[in-house]
């Protein structure tokens, strides 16, 4: 069924089978059904081909002249582009280097090693990230109003201005896809953002690409780490479930970060994003600091305090993670076995008693046999429980381990700037201003870390305790059920 749609922004075909479309052009889409982000249709000049769907997404103010229901995917009224309509925007899936897949050895750092300008041979993060270049006034790019990120002065210090259009994004169980006539298989995840409620399909490598872009782009932002790459067992249920949960956490941290959630890379697509100029040093050009500059001494002490905090947190979450993983293992094996052994012994008792089948014995015999079964079931409950209330904590700790690994670099950038300013003999006002921008961004990021941490750990501990409570209530109910079997008939 053909649908009319209005084009969101220009797209230039670069491959056979693609058609170029212009912003605001009225096009015909042959079917709502998309194929890996592409739709079939014709442009206003009548050229037939595929064009990627996001190009045609309405900017919200113009309503296309088609029936509202059938055009839902392309008329979603959102004042911002659907951030999840990437990353394989430009070119089909096969345009991606297949070696660069989710099976790369974990040792290979996904983090970009791209550098800016003349400092190619220097290795400090301060230099590599573009912090130094920015501080020295070498950053230079066109910054539009829409690119600006405000740091505001909050009750607890500098913080990122809140995202005015917060959204979340669910990731559904992935499905196994094949291409090259089944020669190659991969898992495809269904992503559904809350503000469109439309599912799009993405692969791990698309996340991985986006991650690398974001790291390269934002020098003092802690980009959440993706769940680990894994060479084998990609299609095993446990791995898939674990990766999905890891991606959920990742997505949660992406969408709840005021800067990352607004980032263009979400929608620019592969080719364009890789040509984006507002990366590294230029990112700092987009930061709008509060009116009053920060006290550098105060910044230094706060950053130092945070450094100590992260070190301690990093050490201690390892203890927690080891302990709860071991606890989970004990429940799944040891606890289960103990309850099942008790259950079996009660059943053995019932078997002996069943040799006396007098009327007044039968009820008891059945009740004891039932109690045995109840204990076996409780053993299963124990084995099943860790995935409900321990694994989520473990997942949470994993994402925080990633953040904690990011902060030494972030602190490095801020410290580099501070040292540079201190070293500078004359009070160069521009240098100070730029150092203030870096400091504001760093402290806003630290503030965001703490807020997110408090939110996440509160929610996760609550979840854990609620699950534990349900678990013990389930056991209690089972035991009560068994107890009633002893009521004399």
């Amino acid at each position: 069924m053909a649908l009319k749609a209005r084009v969101l922004y220009d797209f230039h075909s670069e491959n056979p089978g693609e058609i170029s479309v212009r912003e605001n052009e009225l096009v015909t889409v042959f079917s709502e059904e998309e194929l890996e982000g592409w739709l079939e249709g014709k442009n206003s000049r009548g050229r037939l081909a595929s064009s990627p769907r996001p190009t045609w997404r309405s900017s919200g103010t113009t309503s296309p002249p088609t029936r509202p229901i059938t055009t839902r995917p392309i008329t979603t009224a959102s004042p911002r582009p659907n951030p999840l309509a990437i990353p394989h925007f430009q070119g089909s899936d096969d345009d991606w280097d297949d070696d660069w897949d989710d099976t790369l050895p974990a040792t290979q750092q996904a983090k970009s090693t791209a550098t800016v300008g003349r400092n190619l041979n220097r290795f400090s993060t301060f230099v590599k990230s573009g912090g130094e270049a920015f501080l020295l006034g070498e950053a230079n790019a066109l910054v539009r109003d829409g690119d600006m990120m405000c740091v505001v002065m909050g009750k607890h210090g500098p913080e990122w201005q809140e995202d005015p259009y917060p959204f979340t994004c669910t990731i559904d169980d992935p499905t196994k896809q094949t291409k090259f006539k089944g020669m190659k298989s991969y898992m495809s995840y269904g992503l559904t953002p809350s503000h469109t409620n439309v599912q799009v399909n993405r692969r791990y490598k698309h996340f991985d690409w986006l991650y690398a872009r974001l790291v390269e782009r934002f020098p003092v932002i802690s980009v959440p780490h993706l769940p680990e790459k894994q060479a084998t067992g990609r299609f095993e249920e446990d791995f898939i479930s674990k990766r999905r949960k890891g991606l959920m956490w990742w997505m949660n941290h992406m969408t709840s970060h005021p800067v990352l959630a607004r980032c263009d890379s979400w929608k620019l697509g592969k080719r364009k994003a890789e040509r984006d100029e507002l990366v590294g040093a230029n990112f700092f050009l987009t930061i709008n600091p509060p009116d009053v500059p920060l006290d550098l001494q105060d910044v230094e002490s706060k950053v130092e305090g945070f450094k100590t905090f992260t070190k301690r947190m990093d050490e201690n979450i390892i203890v927690v993670n080891t302990t709860i993983n071991e606890f989970g293992r004990k429940q799944m094996i040891g606890f289960k076995k103990e309850y099942q052994k008790v259950g079996q012994s009660f059943k053995v008792l019932a078997q002996a008693f069943e040799m006396d089948q007098q009327a007044y014995s039968v009820g008891l015999n059945k009740a004891i046999a039932y109690t045995g079964e109840a204990y076996e079931t409780i053993g299963e409950y124990f084995a099943d429980q860790p995935r409900h209330d321990l694994d989520p904590i473990s997942d949470l700790l994993d994402i925080y381990k990633g953040h904690l690994a990011n902060y030494p670099d972030i602190i490095d950038v801020q410290k580099g700037a501070l040292t540079k300013v201190k070293d500078c003999p004359q009070q160069e006002s521009d240098l100070h201003e730029r150092c203030n921008i870096i400091s504001c961004a760093t402290l806003a990021e630290i503030q965001h870390f703490h807020r997110t941490r408090v939110r996440d750990f509160r929610l996760q501990m609550q979840h854990h305790l609620q699950q534990q409570i349900s678990f013990f209530q389930k056991i209690t109910a089972k035991l009560e059920d068994a107890l009633h079997r002893y009521d004399e008939q």
Copy 2:
């Protein structure tokens, strides 16, 4: 304060410091306070001395001319003597052979090896118990009406006539006593029968003496075994508590057995009981069988079935006992350790978080620390739990292990009688009658075993499950408490 009391039965003094009293004599008691079963007072002829309290117990129909409240201990209206006013009735505690104490090696069989009549050199229980002698018509003793035990035909076969005056008896925590100026110590238990509600003090050796009397006296009654003798650690809390519980079970089985609860040995006291004639073969003279004799074939098959039952139960309760003891040990050590480790790791997490003392962090930090404590407490709950819900099952299994060990002998007596009757060429009616008496007693005892077993295991499994439910509810409450700490202030 002097009290008047009426003497229950004759007592002849045999030692200095004792006075003789006659049945129905009105005596003066100087104080309600008894010293190891003895009271101080004077007899109607004005002789001053101690006399054992039970002697003065009212038979219930005569009310002494004293104030009811102060005379409570000696005017309790019970139609039977207080069975617990023994076993050290006659003579003071020092009359007992001190070697024959509760520290005898467990290897020494407390069971009587006394034999009857001419069969001194024969070893089968049938012979030793007096079964053969009775069957052969060699039993001979004066049997009073009050000594008769009725076997009645119930819905499920022969059973002991129910005790018309059922009672129970509690055993309180024992206290350590000394004599010979502290040279010798022993534990004294406070026994309180339900029908008098008066506490008397007894030692393990008194139970042991009574046990031996009962075994000797009742050839086909399963006298409950006493808790094990123990050479060391007699004054350790755990041992004392365990022995008290063992004695409670023993007492429970004594008082709920229609024959044992009525038994004279309870009140005759050491010297007289040891002169009792109605033991062994003569016990059968006291049995009054139902009018219609049993079918021997039927008896044989029932006894055979029971033999199989006991063998299976004996094997299976060993499995249960081993399992629950191991389960208890796991809870006290492993489970406790796991929960405490999780608790400690949460506290470690809280410690890291406490380095960030911003207002919005403090509540979470405290909540996580509290959760850590909650888990440590739950660990303690696990360690404490087995004594509430596993140890009682273990105690129950112990008393049943004792009964099951008794049955081969009981079955031996019955089988011996049956074989003798089968071997007998002529149909001797007296022999059949006497075999019927033995069979009736055996089947009544088996019936009693099953009824008691069903009662005990039902109650104990209910108790176990109730305790487990309370335990898990206690854990749930603790977790709910922790959960509320996360409510944002």
